[in-house]
């Protein structure tokens, strides 16, 4: 066994109370690190997943039309205000080629065309304002996972079938197998058979969305062969804005990422992460100070022994390494105990409160990466914290400490 490891391990083993103290501090520190990170990332993942349950990661639309004032003859006056052009529902030009190009972009996992517009859904005397979304069920299901969120029926669109939200179904008093009439403000419409009822966890969506086959929507909205938007799903949700900008640059279309649409949510998530990092940084500093102070006391107590080791041939580097290794061992062992304790806390917290579906209200993310990161931080903190005492030990003058202690 290397000399430094032999001495460091023995010092830790024999310094029972001191070792227990710094190990306890490190364990608690790592436990807080693991628990907080697991909880915050679990909550954020759940929040983002909830937000994106009814929303494409990127929504690609035709660009906004801008009014272009005509050039005026010299000497004539003009109004200083240019009114915005009233925008009607428009299809993306050459949307099939655009869809194909977007689908092949790196980072994009699915893309689906949508023909969307406003309509009234009526049954008997009941009538509700709805958002008609004509989609291709196969590709749309890959962008927004509706299948697992069906309350009744199946997510399958053909002919004149429609899938409606659970709140709308309640308000119209319809279920699977019933018929509803959809009429656009322009008076075009058709009768659709309710093939399924979904619950996407968003009241507004559940109240307003009516999904119909793409071709039916194109006819009803007077968009022959057209698509008003392309819904895009990406592999890394936090890369959505970058990919959206790339789509805008390549195709000259308007592409809104979920990050842009939910800017306030992102700000909240970032603030939450920042405060969590701040707490974790303070915990790391507290642990480092604990290790440094206890090892510092240990160096003072062992001054004479260090002098003897130096007198009998141990170099300053070997002495320094003994205390650095002590710090690293404390960090490593503390990360194992702390990882276990933090995991226990996190799982207990997740089991504390559950929603009606049995899902934890406070979900936690316990990943191998989290434990690896916590271990690296703990070992690095232990070693860094030991640097000052190690340096002090290495600089001790053996002649002085042997004589005076």
């Amino acid at each position: 066994m290397p000399f430094e490891w032999f001495v460091a391990i023995r010092y830790l083993r024999e310094g029972r109370a001191q070792t227990a103290l710094i190990l306890g501090g490190t364990t608690v520190g790592v436990a807080v690190l693991v628990f907080l990170t697991a909880l915050i990332s679990g909550l954020q993942r759940s929040l983002v997943a909830q937000t994106l349950s009814s929303q494409a990661h990127i929504l690609v639309k035709a660009p906004e039309r801008l009014a272009r004032p005509l050039p005026l003859p010299a000497g004539s006056a003009a109004a200083d205000r240019v009114e915005k052009t009233p925008d009607r529902i428009r299809s993306i030009e050459q949307w099939q080629q655009v869809l194909d190009s977007i689908s092949r972009m790196p980072g994009v996992t699915a893309a689906s065309p949508t023909a969307a517009g406003a309509a009234f859904a009526s049954r008997g005397e009941a009538s509700k304002s709805v958002a008609v979304r004509g989609v291709d069920d196969e590709t749309y299901g890959r962008v927004i996972e509706i299948g697992p969120k069906m309350k009744a029926g199946r997510f399958k669109l053909d002919g004149t079938s429609a899938i409606i939200g659970s709140v709308l179904a309640d308000e119209l008093g319809v279920g699977v197998g019933d018929k509803v009439r959809l009429t656009t403000p322009e008076g075009r419409g058709d009768v659709f058979l309710v093939a399924g009822v979904f619950d996407l966890g968003n009241r507004d969506v559940n109240e307003r969305w009516v999904l119909v086959p793409l071709r039916s929507a194109q006819t009803m909205l007077d968009l022959p062969g057209g698509a008003t938007s392309i819904d895009v799903k990406v592999a890394d949700v936090f890369a959505a804005e970058r990919i959206a900008q790339e789509i805008e640059r390549r195709h000259g279309l308007a592409a809104d990422s979920w990050m842009k649409v939910n800017e306030q949510l992102l700000v909240a998530l970032r603030s939450q992460s920042a405060s969590s990092y701040m707490i974790q940084a303070l915990v790391v500093v507290a642990v480092a100070l604990g290790i440094a102070s206890v090892l510092g006391v240990s160096v003072i107590q062992k001054s004479r022994e260090i002098g003897i080791l130096k007198a009998t041939g141990a170099t300053t580097r070997r002495i320094e390494r003994i205390f650095l290794i002590e710090g690293a061992i404390v960090g490593a062992v503390g990360s194992v105990f702390g990882g276990g304790l933090g995991t226990g806390f996190a799982l207990a917290f997740a089991n504390l409160a559950r929603g009606p579906t049995g899902e934890p209200i406070f979900p936690v993310d316990l990943t191998p990466g989290l434990f690896a990161a916590a271990s690296i931080i703990a070992v690095a903190t232990g070693t860094a914290a030991a640097w000052f005492p190690a340096n002090r030990a290495a600089r001790l003058d053996p002649a002085v400490v042997i004589r005076y202690g």
Binding site: P2, F3, E305, I308, L309, A314, R318
Partner: protein
Amino acid sequence: MADGSAPAVLRLEGVAKDFGEGEACTRVLHGVELTVRRGEFAALIGPSGSGKSTLLNIMGLLDRPTVGKVFVDDRETGTLDDDELARYRGRTLGFVFQFHHLLPEFTALENVILPMAADKGRLDATMQECGEALLNLVGLGKKLHAKATQLSGGQAQRVAIARSLAMNPRVVLADEPTGNLDTQTSDEVFALLRDVNRRQGVAFVVVTHDSRLAERCDRIVDLVDGRIVSDRPHQALR
């Protein structure tokens, strides 16, 4: 006992040592010339404050002289940096202190092995054998695995002697090795030092206040106010 033709293992040339700076500067050693030869057993005596410990520290390469040179095994040590000095010290010199200064976390055997491990950078089986042999030599073959804290004062000092011999040194420097022991144990430890000296040919320089013990050495060096005032063979040897 060494004769005048034995090779010098430790040599001091014009060694002076100052402490403090400016007006507070005090010279505690003045041009000390001293040669220790192989197999010699010398006593370094002198009143308190005469500079014995300072001289011993310089001889032991634990401190550097302000002026002068220290040769160990004919190598001038002034050019060595701190780490080279530590390694050279470990390989050529042994120390026995007034208090045994054993490391309490370690067993008697481990205390003896540590200088070897510090030199090689690791522990191995040959060190274990060597440590056992040394503890047998000092009569502690049955206390190999006793913690330093479980040994009596005399036993601990014997372990310290075994430790000082671990690296097969040229000279062992002993700073009042019996100063903390009762008379009987003192005699036993001193007898052990002499026995090792005679059997292994290791030179010893022993600082002592005990004139009775000094009279049992081959040579007596008397230091007063940082100067060697007499350096003579023991009367019985003249």
